[in-house]
């Protein structure tokens, strides 16, 4: 027995049905998500426009070329964002691989525990830009850890897997990343707590 899937059933009157040009419609829909993907990448890679464009392009081309696409419209954006996050993790890994063992050494005396961040008005563009700038001043591993854990809300196990670390090492990395972020924030903006 053939069973029609719900998405194949058009319940509109025949007179209202249109034969949509599939390709142009697909491209139009994907074109509409460009700002969403671009907006996802931009703050996560330090506000580098050309890199955000490259990653957006990679994500959309991977989506178009993928043989396994979501079968429900509501899953399209989550699916695209899962591809985008994988692209972002690939970017961080590549960055890490290329710079492994290359510095960002911090003197021991800088490792006092810094006060926490104040409550930030993250709807304000200057504040958001400042967060991105501070992120960009972190070393790449700190940067990646903060983004995955706090921007994307990944659990520690996922961050650990993305960064090829044990969970214990990841917890330690996150603690140092937070401390470093706070130190830079305070240096740039003062301790307003």
């Amino acid at each position: 027995m053939d069973i029609a899937l719900s998405r194949d059933v058009d319940v509109r009157p025949v007179s209202q049905r249109k034969r949509a040009p599939a390709e142009s419609s697909a491209v139009t829909t994907l074109a509409h998500v460009i700002p969403r993907l671009y907006g996802y990448f931009y703050p996560r890679i330090g506000g580098n426009r050309s890199l955000a464009e490259d990653l957006t392009q990679d994500t959309l081309l991977s989506a178009v070329r993928s043989a396994n696409t979501p079968s429900a419209e509501a899953e399209l954006m989550p699916w695209l964002f899962s591809i985008a996050r994988n692209k972002l993790i690939d970017h961080y890994r590549k960055q890490d691989r290329e710079r492994r063992h290359l510095g960002q050494r911090v003197d021991d005396d800088e490792f006092e525990l810094h006060a926490g961040l104040p409550d930030l008005d993250l709807e304000s563009v200057p504040v958001r830009d400042e967060v991105i700038t501070v992120l960009n001043e972190l070393n790449p591993r700190f940067h990646a850890a903060i983004v995955l854990r706090y921007f994307d809300g990944c659990d520690v196990a996922t961050v650990a897997q993305a960064m090829f670390l044990s969970e214990t090492a990841t917890q330690s990395l996150l603690a140092r990343a937070r401390n470093s972020f706070r130190a830079i924030w305070i240096a740039r903006n003062g301790d307003s707590r």
Binding site: V27, L30, L61, V64, N68, L76, E98, H101, G116
Partner: protein
């Protein structure tokens, strides 16, 4: 004393997901590109999904005088119940058939047998005493186990290198410098040292230094500075051939040094092919634009074969550095990605090049073995999925390919969207024939794959490592790993949170 919690960072969550309008030129370029892709890619599922008009809001059946709403509702419910239960049963059977052939989610299937799974045998790991448990396992060379550890809380980058006796675990030596990249032969370990600025950040530099250390004592034998372009952003291909160290930079520069003195014997260069431009921060907030290439080099039959990103093969005499020939192997002509990550490995009768290939039905791992002198293709394989690859000294090849396997729509209704899957291929490098293939199984963790010719080991579950022999027997070790194990002779060295454990394979 301030306690370190992450409450102040929780405020970031979800605040950096808003849309941003990119440059109009980029948007226009993307639309053009996407249109072009549709000409090449048979993305019918994407197209049908996206082009399918939404039924939301239009699916309401308007009751008429002849159709009482309760009757319609009852009929709809009845039809739905019958259809759903039928598909439920069918989909369950389909998924069971696909994934129920355990043990452990995977079934061994010797390629030359009639589908009889090999037995499963559990092995136990024992902790190697005395080794820094935070050390990252680099490798085992001449029975010396090399680890790399962090300097401590103040430095996330691992910079303390230690050499241990691989049997006893005794510390032989340690050194503390900014170094990376290793190759070893004949008791000598070759490492690369970077230039690091005073504040500890990366310093843009067009030079790098190769250092030779005595493997048993850690004593520095020589160091030689190389004048390579952009070497600091990407690892060179470094190899030891007879009494020479050959280093091929990312940009196609080649240098040969004496293994005993570090003196430069010859220098040469080849066209690196297609590259990709990136802006890399270079300390003090400087940005430096660099071009990164994909280029692989492999030594074979007293020659160096360098394959660039265009698929051009250059042959270089290892003794003199003279380019003795070049030809276009056209490895990537159908490749839609502008930048291919390629790898080249020597086989007994040729060389093997592997790269990812994008096509309309997804990513494939392409393996091409060819005679580097003539360019003649010996065999080639096209494996579904993106794969990690390892090759043993005897030329047997282990490839673990990964693809996402999507559940049917009914399973998606209950939140089961699919699985990341793996399939392990063990291939005879001489013939291209499969020695062993596993059925495609569920991948539950980030995998690694390695072979020493007698075994292929892989991790596909968080707490289990599987090693297969050539008969399809699966040996498994129940342990968590904190890094990638090393397979040396008959011994598997596994980094764990408690230190490095060893497993004796039969």
């Amino acid at each position: 004393m301030t306690h370190d919690t992450d409450h102040d960072f929780q405020q970031f969550r979800g605040k950096f997901d808003s849309a941003m309008v990119p440059d109009a030129a980029f948007k226009a370029k993307m639309e053009k590109l996407l249109n072009a892709e549709h000409q090449h890619v048979a993305a019918e599922r994407v197209s049908s999904l996206i082009a399918s008009p939404s039924t939301a809001g239009s699916a309401t059946v308007v009751p008429t005088r002849r159709n009482h709403p309760l009757m319609v509702a009852a009929a709809v419910l009845m039809v739905f119940a019958v259809v759903a239960s039928s598909i439920w049963v069918l989909s369950g059977i389909m998924l069971e058939g696909e994934y129920a052939s355990a043990p452990g989610g995977i079934a061994t299937l010797p390629a030359d047998a009639s589908g009889t799974p090999g037995p499963d045998i559990e092995l136990t790991a024992s902790l190697l005493q005395g080794i820094d448990k935070n050390g990252y396992l680099i490798g085992i060379f001449n029975n010396v186990l090399i680890t790399q550890s962090s300097r401590g809380e103040a430095d996330t980058w691992s910079t303390i290198i230690r050499g241990y006796d691989a049997e006893s675990g005794d510390l032989l030596w340690e050194s503390e410098e900014y170094m990376d990249f290793y190759t070893a032969e004949g008791g000598v370990l070759i490492r690369q040292r970077y230039t690091v600025s005073k504040d500890g950040s990366l310093q843009a530099s067009d030079t790098t230094t190769l250092i030779a250390l005595d493997l048993r004592t850690g004593e520095s034998l020589w160091s030689t500075e190389l004048d390579f372009q952009n070497l600091w952003v990407s690892s060179p291909n470094t190899m030891i051939i007879d009494d020479s160290v050959i280093a091929v930079s990312n940009a196609g520069e080649i240098v040969a040094l004496s293994l005993t003195s570090g003196q430069i014997q010859w220098q040469s260069s080849v066209d690196p092919g297609k590259g990709r431009t990136e802006q890399i921060s270079a300390g003090d907030n400087d940005l430096r634009e660099v071009t990164i290439y994909s280029l692989a080099a492999v030594a074979w039959n007293n020659q160096l074969a360098v394959i660039n990103g265009n698929g051009t093969v250059y042959l270089i005499d290892i003794v003199t550095g003279d380019t003795t020939g070049s030809y276009d192997k056209a490895l990537f002509t159908d490749n839609q990605v502008p930048f291919a990550y390629i790898d080249a490995i020597a086989l007994s009768h040729g060389i093997l090049v592997s790269h990812d290939h994008m096509s309309s039905d997804g990513i494939h791992t392409m393996l091409v073995a060819f005679d580097p002198e003539t360019g003649e293709t010996l065999w080639e394989r096209n494996l579904e999925g993106s794969g990690s690859i390892d090759v043993s000294d005897d030329g047997s090849i282990a490839v673990n390919t990964h693809i996402w396997k999507q559940s049917n729509w009914l399973m998606q209704l209950i939140g089961n969207h699919g699985y990341s899957t793996f399939q392990l291929h063990w291939i005879d490098g001489n013939t291209g024939n499969e020695i062993l293939t596993t059925e495609r199984g569920k991948l539950e963790t980030s995998p690694f794959t390695m072979t020493n010719g007698s075994y292929v080991c892989t991790r596909t579950k968080e707490t289990e490592i599987s090693c297969y022999d050539r008969n399809g027997t699966r040996y498994f070790i129940t342990t968590t790993t904190s890094g990638t194990p090393v397979l040396a002779d008959g011994m598997l060295f596994v980094p764990t949170d408690d230190g490095i454990a060893t497993v004796q394979l039969p």
